[in-house]
Protein backbone atom coordinates (compact mmCIF):
# COMPACT_ATOMS: atom_id res chain seq x y z
CA UNK A 1 0.00 0.00 0.00
CA UNK A 2 1.36 3.39 -0.92
CA UNK A 3 1.51 6.38 1.38
CA UNK A 4 -1.80 8.16 1.79
CA UNK A 5 -2.41 11.81 2.58
CA UNK A 6 -3.01 11.11 6.24
CA UNK A 7 0.38 9.40 6.62
CA UNK A 8 2.46 12.35 5.48
CA UNK A 9 4.63 13.82 8.23
CA UNK A 10 5.72 17.43 8.48
CA UNK A 11 9.14 16.74 6.99
CA UNK A 12 7.55 15.14 3.94
CA UNK A 13 5.16 18.05 3.58
CA UNK A 14 8.14 20.40 3.71
CA UNK A 15 9.71 18.47 0.87
CA UNK A 16 6.52 18.81 -1.18
CA UNK A 17 6.60 22.55 -0.46
CA UNK A 18 10.15 22.71 -1.72
CA UNK A 19 9.08 20.93 -4.87
CA UNK A 20 6.51 23.67 -5.37
CA UNK A 21 9.16 26.27 -4.68
CA UNK A 22 11.58 24.99 -7.28
CA UNK A 23 8.97 24.23 -9.91
CA UNK A 24 7.10 27.49 -9.54
CA UNK A 25 10.35 29.45 -9.30
CA UNK A 26 11.29 28.27 -12.75
CA UNK A 27 7.80 28.80 -14.10
CA UNK A 28 7.64 32.35 -12.77
CA UNK A 29 11.07 33.13 -14.25
CA UNK A 30 9.83 31.91 -17.61
CA UNK A 31 6.70 34.03 -17.35
CA UNK A 32 8.69 37.04 -16.23
CA UNK A 33 10.96 36.76 -19.29
CA UNK A 34 8.00 36.34 -21.60
CA UNK A 35 6.33 39.57 -20.55
CA UNK A 36 9.48 41.45 -19.48
CA UNK A 37 8.04 42.26 -16.07
CA UNK A 38 9.15 41.47 -12.59
CA UNK A 39 6.89 38.85 -11.10
CA UNK A 40 7.03 37.80 -7.47
CA UNK A 41 5.89 34.56 -6.03
CA UNK A 42 4.79 33.68 -2.55
CA UNK A 43 6.15 30.80 -0.52
CA UNK A 44 4.31 27.70 -1.73
CA UNK A 45 1.63 26.23 0.46
CA UNK A 46 0.78 22.56 0.75
CA UNK A 47 -2.95 22.42 1.27
CA UNK A 48 -4.61 19.26 2.46
CA UNK A 49 -8.29 20.06 2.42
CA UNK A 50 -11.66 18.42 2.32
CA UNK A 51 -13.43 18.58 -1.03
CA UNK A 52 -15.97 21.11 0.12
CA UNK A 53 -13.24 23.57 1.10
CA UNK A 54 -11.35 23.53 -2.20
CA UNK A 55 -13.25 26.33 -3.90
CA UNK A 56 -12.66 28.65 -0.94
CA UNK A 57 -8.94 28.49 -1.67
CA UNK A 58 -9.47 30.24 -4.96
CA UNK A 59 -11.67 33.17 -3.99
CA UNK A 60 -15.00 31.38 -3.72
CA UNK A 61 -16.81 28.88 -5.91
CA UNK A 62 -18.52 31.46 -8.10
CA UNK A 63 -15.50 33.62 -8.85
CA UNK A 64 -14.98 33.98 -12.61
CA UNK A 65 -11.56 32.64 -13.53
CA UNK A 66 -9.61 31.20 -16.43
CA UNK A 67 -8.36 27.72 -15.69
CA UNK A 68 -5.73 25.98 -17.77
CA UNK A 69 -5.62 22.31 -17.01
CA UNK A 70 -2.95 19.72 -17.76
CA UNK A 71 -2.68 16.07 -17.08
CA UNK A 72 0.69 14.84 -15.92
CA UNK A 73 1.86 11.39 -16.97
CA UNK A 74 5.06 9.39 -16.75
CA UNK A 75 6.74 8.17 -13.56
CA UNK A 76 4.33 10.26 -11.53
CA UNK A 77 0.76 11.13 -12.47
CA UNK A 78 -1.53 13.96 -11.48
CA UNK A 79 -2.85 17.30 -12.61
CA UNK A 80 -1.60 20.81 -13.02
CA UNK A 81 -4.07 23.67 -12.80
CA UNK A 82 -3.14 27.25 -13.54
CA UNK A 83 -5.84 29.68 -12.38
CA UNK A 84 -5.88 33.34 -13.19
CA UNK A 85 -8.67 35.82 -12.55
CA UNK A 86 -10.30 37.46 -15.52
CA UNK A 87 -8.85 40.96 -15.24
CA UNK A 88 -5.42 39.44 -14.86
CA UNK A 89 -5.69 37.33 -17.97
CA UNK A 90 -6.59 40.45 -19.99
CA UNK A 91 -3.58 42.34 -18.57
CA UNK A 92 -1.29 39.41 -19.24
CA UNK A 93 -2.45 39.12 -22.84
CA UNK A 94 -2.08 42.87 -23.37
CA UNK A 95 1.54 42.70 -22.25
CA UNK A 96 2.25 39.69 -24.36
CA UNK A 97 0.69 40.98 -27.53
CA UNK A 98 1.47 44.67 -27.07
CA UNK A 99 -2.20 45.63 -26.91
CA UNK A 100 -4.19 48.11 -24.91
CA UNK A 101 -7.53 46.35 -24.92
CA UNK A 102 -9.95 46.79 -22.02
CA UNK A 103 -12.65 44.32 -23.06
CA UNK A 104 -12.37 41.46 -20.59
CA UNK A 105 -13.45 38.91 -23.18
CA UNK A 106 -10.62 37.28 -25.10
CA UNK A 107 -10.83 36.45 -28.79
CA UNK A 108 -9.74 33.18 -30.38
CA UNK A 109 -6.08 34.17 -30.85
CA UNK A 110 -5.85 35.64 -27.37
CA UNK A 111 -7.30 32.50 -25.83
CA UNK A 112 -4.74 30.49 -27.70
CA UNK A 113 -1.99 32.79 -26.38
CA UNK A 114 -3.27 32.32 -22.84
CA UNK A 115 -3.12 28.55 -23.28
CA UNK A 116 0.41 28.90 -24.53
CA UNK A 117 1.36 30.87 -21.41
CA UNK A 118 -0.02 28.01 -19.36
CA UNK A 119 1.90 25.56 -21.48
CA UNK A 120 5.21 27.31 -20.91
CA UNK A 121 4.55 27.60 -17.17
CA UNK A 122 3.61 23.95 -16.79
CA UNK A 123 6.51 22.85 -18.97
CA UNK A 124 9.12 24.78 -17.01
CA UNK A 125 7.59 23.72 -13.68
CA UNK A 126 7.77 20.06 -14.58
CA UNK A 127 11.14 20.12 -16.30
CA UNK A 128 12.77 21.57 -13.19
CA UNK A 129 10.96 18.97 -11.12
CA UNK A 130 12.16 16.27 -13.45
CA UNK A 131 15.78 17.45 -13.21
CA UNK A 132 15.52 17.51 -9.43
CA UNK A 133 14.01 14.07 -8.99
CA UNK A 134 15.36 12.19 -12.00
CA UNK A 135 11.79 11.11 -12.75
CA UNK A 136 10.36 11.45 -16.20
CA UNK A 137 7.08 13.30 -16.56
CA UNK A 138 5.23 14.87 -19.41
CA UNK A 139 2.30 17.25 -19.61
CA UNK A 140 -0.70 16.88 -21.86
CA UNK A 141 -1.74 19.64 -24.21
CA UNK A 142 -3.40 22.51 -22.33
CA UNK A 143 -7.15 22.72 -22.02
CA UNK A 144 -8.77 26.02 -21.14
CA UNK A 145 -12.06 26.86 -19.44
CA UNK A 146 -13.33 30.26 -18.36
CA UNK A 147 -15.96 29.73 -15.73
CA UNK A 148 -16.74 29.50 -12.02
CA UNK A 149 -13.72 28.54 -9.92
CA UNK A 150 -15.66 25.82 -8.14
CA UNK A 151 -16.67 24.16 -11.39
CA UNK A 152 -13.13 24.32 -12.73
CA UNK A 153 -11.47 22.98 -9.59
CA UNK A 154 -13.95 20.12 -9.41
CA UNK A 155 -12.15 18.44 -12.30
CA UNK A 156 -8.82 17.63 -10.61
CA UNK A 157 -10.59 17.11 -7.29
CA UNK A 158 -12.83 14.37 -8.70
CA UNK A 159 -9.70 12.37 -9.51
CA UNK A 160 -8.98 12.37 -5.79
CA UNK A 161 -12.51 11.36 -4.92
CA UNK A 162 -11.69 7.87 -6.10
CA UNK A 163 -9.12 7.29 -3.39
CA UNK A 164 -10.06 9.48 -0.46
CA UNK A 165 -11.94 12.40 1.01
CA UNK A 166 -9.13 14.93 0.96
CA UNK A 167 -7.09 16.50 -1.77
CA UNK A 168 -3.48 17.63 -1.60
CA UNK A 169 -2.64 20.77 -3.53
CA UNK A 170 0.79 22.34 -3.82
CA UNK A 171 -0.16 25.95 -4.39
CA UNK A 172 2.02 28.86 -5.46
CA UNK A 173 0.59 32.35 -5.83
CA UNK A 174 2.30 34.91 -7.95
CA UNK A 175 1.81 38.64 -8.23
CA UNK A 176 3.06 41.35 -10.54
CA UNK A 177 3.45 44.95 -9.33
CA UNK A 178 0.48 46.31 -7.45
CA UNK A 179 -1.64 43.19 -7.88
CA UNK A 180 -2.15 43.77 -11.58
CA UNK A 181 -1.76 40.15 -12.35
CA UNK A 182 -2.54 37.46 -9.85
CA UNK A 183 -2.57 33.76 -10.43
CA UNK A 184 -2.45 30.44 -8.60
CA UNK A 185 -0.53 27.48 -9.78
CA UNK A 186 -1.53 24.08 -8.44
CA UNK A 187 0.38 20.84 -8.70
CA UNK A 188 -1.95 18.04 -7.66
CA UNK A 189 -0.10 14.72 -7.60
CA UNK A 190 -2.22 11.58 -7.51
CA UNK A 191 -2.08 9.80 -4.19
CA UNK A 192 -0.05 6.89 -5.57
CA UNK A 193 2.60 9.39 -6.72
CA UNK A 194 3.49 10.71 -3.23
CA UNK A 195 5.65 7.74 -2.44
CA UNK A 196 7.50 7.81 -5.79
CA UNK A 197 8.06 11.53 -5.47
CA UNK A 198 9.33 11.34 -1.88
CA UNK A 199 11.49 8.30 -2.58
CA UNK A 200 13.19 9.96 -5.54
CA UNK A 201 14.29 12.72 -3.16
CA UNK A 202 15.48 10.30 -0.53
CA UNK A 203 12.97 11.32 2.14
CA UNK A 204 11.63 7.82 2.61
Amino acid sequence: MSISIADLNSQQIDVLKEIGNIGAGNAVTALSKMVSKRIDMKVPIVNIVEFKEVADLVGGPEMLVSGIYFKVSGDITGSIMFLIDNDSSRTLINWLMGKNETNAELDEIELSALKEVGNILAGSYLSSLSTLTGLSMTVSIPSLAIDMAGAIMSVPVILFGQVGDHVLLIETDFIEGINQVKGNFFLIPDEQSFEILLKSLGVI
Partner: protein
Amino acid sequence: MAEVIKVGMADLNCVYPPDALITLGLGSCVGICLHDRETKISGMVHIMLPYSHQIKNNSNLAKFADTGIAKLLDDMLKMGAKRSKVVSKVAGGAQMFNFNDTSDIMRIGARNVVAVKETLKNLNIPILAEDTGGSYGRTIEFSSDTGLLLVKTIGHGIKQI
Protein backbone atom coordinates in the same frame (compact mmCIF):
# COMPACT_ATOMS: atom_id res chain seq x y z
CA MET B 1 -37.74 34.47 6.65
CA ALA B 2 -36.51 31.52 4.60
CA GLU B 3 -32.94 30.47 5.21
CA VAL B 4 -30.63 29.31 2.45
CA ILE B 5 -28.63 26.25 3.47
CA LYS B 6 -25.34 25.56 1.71
CA VAL B 7 -24.42 22.17 0.32
CA GLY B 8 -20.69 21.62 -0.37
CA MET B 9 -18.98 19.19 -2.69
CA ALA B 10 -19.64 15.57 -1.61
CA ASP B 11 -22.15 16.90 0.89
CA LEU B 12 -25.92 16.76 1.49
CA ASN B 13 -28.56 18.62 3.49
CA CYS B 14 -32.32 18.57 4.08
CA VAL B 15 -34.70 21.37 5.05
CA TYR B 16 -38.27 22.02 6.08
CA PRO B 17 -40.20 24.68 4.14
CA PRO B 18 -39.72 27.56 3.52
CA ASP B 19 -35.93 27.11 3.62
CA ALA B 20 -33.90 26.80 0.43
CA LEU B 21 -30.81 24.80 -0.52
CA ILE B 22 -27.89 26.07 -2.57
CA THR B 23 -24.76 24.58 -4.08
CA LEU B 24 -22.19 26.83 -5.74
CA GLY B 25 -20.08 26.17 -8.81
CA LEU B 26 -21.18 22.71 -9.92
CA GLY B 27 -18.89 21.44 -12.66
CA SER B 28 -18.75 17.77 -13.57
CA CYS B 29 -20.46 17.00 -10.29
CA VAL B 30 -24.23 16.62 -10.22
CA GLY B 31 -26.69 18.29 -7.86
CA ILE B 32 -29.81 16.26 -7.11
CA CYS B 33 -32.81 17.85 -5.40
CA LEU B 34 -35.48 15.68 -3.82
CA HIS B 35 -38.80 17.24 -2.87
CA ASP B 36 -41.86 15.86 -1.13
CA ARG B 37 -44.80 17.54 -2.83
CA GLU B 38 -47.02 17.17 0.21
CA THR B 39 -44.92 18.16 3.21
CA LYS B 40 -42.46 20.17 1.06
CA ILE B 41 -39.54 18.65 2.94
CA SER B 42 -36.64 18.95 0.52
CA GLY B 43 -33.05 17.80 0.22
CA MET B 44 -30.04 18.37 -1.98
CA VAL B 45 -26.95 16.23 -2.55
CA HIS B 46 -23.82 17.24 -4.49
CA ILE B 47 -22.24 14.05 -5.82
CA MET B 48 -18.80 13.70 -7.45
CA LEU B 49 -18.70 10.13 -8.72
CA PRO B 50 -21.15 7.54 -10.12
CA TYR B 51 -21.04 4.36 -8.02
CA SER B 52 -19.68 3.60 -4.58
CA HIS B 53 -18.89 -0.04 -5.34
CA GLN B 54 -16.37 0.98 -8.02
CA ILE B 55 -14.26 2.73 -5.40
CA LYS B 56 -12.38 1.35 -2.42
CA ASN B 57 -12.70 4.33 -0.11
CA ASN B 58 -16.44 4.89 0.00
CA SER B 59 -17.11 5.98 3.57
CA ASN B 60 -18.52 9.37 2.55
CA LEU B 61 -21.96 8.42 1.25
CA ALA B 62 -22.64 11.86 -0.25
CA LYS B 63 -19.75 11.44 -2.68
CA PHE B 64 -21.53 8.94 -4.93
CA ALA B 65 -24.75 9.01 -6.95
CA ASP B 66 -26.07 5.69 -5.64
CA THR B 67 -25.36 6.06 -1.92
CA GLY B 68 -25.82 9.85 -1.89
CA ILE B 69 -29.38 9.77 -3.22
CA ALA B 70 -30.30 6.82 -0.97
CA LYS B 71 -28.95 8.59 2.12
CA LEU B 72 -30.71 11.84 1.21
CA LEU B 73 -34.03 10.04 0.79
CA ASP B 74 -33.47 8.27 4.08
CA ASP B 75 -32.78 11.53 5.91
CA MET B 76 -35.89 13.13 4.42
CA LEU B 77 -38.09 10.21 5.44
CA LYS B 78 -36.73 10.54 8.99
CA MET B 79 -37.81 14.17 8.93
CA GLY B 80 -41.32 13.08 7.99
CA ALA B 81 -41.35 13.15 4.20
CA LYS B 82 -43.81 10.88 2.41
CA ARG B 83 -42.00 8.34 0.24
CA SER B 84 -44.69 8.19 -2.45
CA LYS B 85 -44.75 11.97 -2.91
CA VAL B 86 -41.03 12.44 -3.51
CA VAL B 87 -39.99 13.90 -6.87
CA SER B 88 -36.61 15.10 -8.14
CA LYS B 89 -34.78 17.70 -10.20
CA VAL B 90 -31.25 17.29 -11.47
CA ALA B 91 -28.54 19.72 -12.67
CA GLY B 92 -24.83 19.66 -13.47
CA GLY B 93 -22.69 16.98 -15.08
CA ALA B 94 -20.80 19.32 -17.40
CA GLN B 95 -17.59 18.53 -19.19
CA MET B 96 -15.44 21.47 -18.15
CA PHE B 97 -12.34 20.66 -20.18
CA ASN B 98 -12.10 19.23 -23.65
CA PHE B 99 -9.39 16.69 -24.19
CA ASN B 100 -8.97 14.72 -27.35
CA ASP B 101 -8.79 11.45 -25.52
CA THR B 102 -12.05 10.06 -24.29
CA SER B 103 -10.76 8.43 -21.12
CA ASP B 104 -13.43 7.65 -18.58
CA ILE B 105 -12.32 10.21 -16.07
CA MET B 106 -12.66 13.01 -18.61
CA ARG B 107 -16.26 12.06 -19.35
CA ILE B 108 -17.07 11.90 -15.67
CA GLY B 109 -19.87 14.49 -15.97
CA ALA B 110 -21.85 12.38 -18.43
CA ARG B 111 -21.22 9.22 -16.41
CA ASN B 112 -22.43 10.95 -13.26
CA VAL B 113 -25.68 11.95 -14.96
CA VAL B 114 -26.30 8.40 -16.19
CA ALA B 115 -25.70 7.00 -12.71
CA VAL B 116 -28.02 9.58 -11.12
CA LYS B 117 -30.84 8.77 -13.53
CA GLU B 118 -30.41 5.05 -13.02
CA THR B 119 -30.43 5.43 -9.24
CA LEU B 120 -33.58 7.59 -9.30
CA LYS B 121 -35.28 5.10 -11.61
CA ASN B 122 -34.44 2.22 -9.30
CA LEU B 123 -35.90 4.17 -6.38
CA ASN B 124 -39.01 5.03 -8.41
CA ILE B 125 -38.48 8.76 -8.01
CA PRO B 126 -39.71 10.74 -11.04
CA ILE B 127 -37.40 13.38 -12.54
CA LEU B 128 -39.52 16.48 -13.12
CA ALA B 129 -36.81 18.58 -14.73
CA GLU B 130 -33.12 18.54 -15.55
CA ASP B 131 -30.41 20.84 -16.80
CA THR B 132 -27.37 18.68 -17.42
CA GLY B 133 -24.37 18.40 -19.73
CA GLY B 134 -22.76 21.27 -21.60
CA SER B 135 -19.34 22.65 -20.79
CA TYR B 136 -20.10 25.29 -18.16
CA GLY B 137 -20.45 25.56 -14.41
CA ARG B 138 -23.74 26.02 -12.61
CA THR B 139 -24.92 27.40 -9.28
CA ILE B 140 -28.23 25.88 -8.26
CA GLU B 141 -30.74 26.99 -5.66
CA PHE B 142 -33.79 24.92 -4.73
CA SER B 143 -36.79 26.43 -2.98
CA SER B 144 -38.62 23.94 -0.79
CA ASP B 145 -41.66 26.19 -0.81
CA THR B 146 -42.20 26.31 -4.57
CA GLY B 147 -40.27 23.20 -5.63
CA LEU B 148 -38.50 25.32 -8.23
CA LEU B 149 -34.82 25.01 -9.06
CA LEU B 150 -32.93 28.13 -10.10
CA VAL B 151 -29.91 27.44 -12.33
CA LYS B 152 -27.38 30.26 -12.68
CA THR B 153 -24.42 30.21 -15.06
CA ILE B 154 -21.77 32.58 -16.29
CA GLY B 155 -22.48 33.43 -19.92
CA HIS B 156 -25.17 30.78 -20.39
CA GLY B 157 -28.08 32.55 -18.78
CA ILE B 158 -30.27 31.93 -15.76
CA LYS B 159 -33.23 29.62 -15.80
CA GLN B 160 -35.80 28.21 -13.49
CA ILE B 161 -36.78 24.59 -13.90
